[in-house]
Symmetry: C2
Subunit: 304 residues, 2 copies
Amino acid sequence: MSLVIIGTVAFDTIETPFGKTDKILGGAGTFASLAASYLCDQIKLVSVIGEDFGSRNLAVIEDRGIDVSGVQIVPGGQTFSWSGRYHNDMNSRDTLATDLNVLADFDPIIPDSYQDCEYLLLGNLTPQVQLTTLARLKRKPKLVVLDTMNYWMNVALDDLKKVLQKVDVLTINDAEARQLSGEYSLVKAAKVILAMGPKYLIIKKGEHGALLFGENQIFSAPALPLADVFDPTGAGDSFAGGFIGYLAKVKSINFTNMKNALIFGSALASFCVEKFGTDRLVGLTEEDIQKRLNAFVALSQFNL
Amino acid sequence: MSLVIIGTVAFDTIETPFGKTDKILGGAGTFASLAASYLCDQIKLVSVIGEDFGSRNLAVIEDRGIDVSGVQIVPGGQTFSWSGRYHNDMNSRDTLATDLNVLADFDPIIPDSYQDCEYLLLGNLTPQVQLTTLARLKRKPKLVVLDTMNYWMNVALDDLKKVLQKVDVLTINDAEARQLSGEYSLVKAAKVILAMGPKYLIIKKGEHGALLFGENQIFSAPALPLADVFDPTGAGDSFAGGFIGYLAKVKSINFTNMKNALIFGSALASFCVEKFGTDRLVGLTEEDIQKRLNAFVALSQFNL
């Protein structure tokens, strides 16, 4: 009865118009599990780090009650690290450096204690690692959510298509949906992609919100308009974590719950971008989250 | 007790990936008044056409119960005409020709029978013509909605700022909001623009919907995801017409009604793009509109 999240735990070095960081805690697995931790219990992380990672960084994750026994520490290894600079519009960025380090040989080991997995988030990693993870789970999870990106469409499309046949939900952005489907219209793109395997497709549109396709229905979730986006790093991962965290809490998969899950995911993502790295995603209160959900209701609900 | 709409009545020649038209009926005043005609009575149009316009085209407008006694016919004059080609993504277009013709010397004459105007839509025209229209109304309307575009920000910013001081609602797109305010964040842009005069600001984002700012609140209206956008010409004008048409019907200006007006405007715009020119905006039934409104509810409403 657990939510297993596999994804990177990393060092990020970030430059935005608001400032510059040293190497700080980042990674898709980190953001997703922190976000989910506000919505459900029994979160179990699978990842890999180097000996340089430091116990203080790992404590940030553990302090939120997240099980890190599936986070391998490679002796003498260096942690995956990424460095990037955001442009003034905060919608585009340049990657300055990507050092795979221990991630290059990542073999996802699933501890026995993780075999109770009912909800699985396959964070953005090589499709091969995602396939291995699925193969190593002895029981098929109730729900598998897959995150991926254009890079894997370019270099590992065949493997990616194999993963797509085994998952329930795919989350990608609008450009990636167009690339994967070869269709410009997102409605047509969704049709093509849903035929590849997943029952639900979430298309993330950044400041324009997200669309959910499935069960012959469409739902449009707004993004919260913000005066300042401080650091967008991890927003998509926080969204995915909030999304699956909500479903793991309510334990029932249908379009109505999926819609709410999109709103919870969007709320968590809206916190993430308010500070550098994971700073805003630690120490949120129940009241913070309730207020933010209320803001989404006010933003998008009407009564004709 | 009428809704006065001032805007172009024109000939459009349109090329899209779906086909090509001859000179067909178009113009902001046409689209806006047709859209509004499904929501309220007593619509009165101010515009100018040439002798070439033809009674059949005018009949399309009159047949919807729209008063055209304020549409001047210039003897021997040629009607304003525009020609454009949409790119494959339908989000961008090239203007192939703009022939102002009778629009070049347009002096907006307001018939006495229009002086009962309570709702006024100032369609996209020179700010000077918009100012003249306002000056010629003997009684201040209950609500003035202004549409404009980047072109007037480039060539007539001072006049535009004068109009802004006299209107209640401004509708522009996101790029125009950024240009007018000098702010990238739409939240900051809205703050700057609302300080220029209007009490409400609507930022249109095309396939991403629209944002309404005012009364220290924000509302996000979705756009209906469509498999095929056949011809986007007139979508923004249909939106504006549906928006003010709804408010003229309910006769009460507050944020709650403004939210609904955005949804009605979006619904009318979603019809407009389904066929060339005004083809889809004539002959809609009450049932068509109710079904479309239901689609907007299904698309965006949730229950946490």
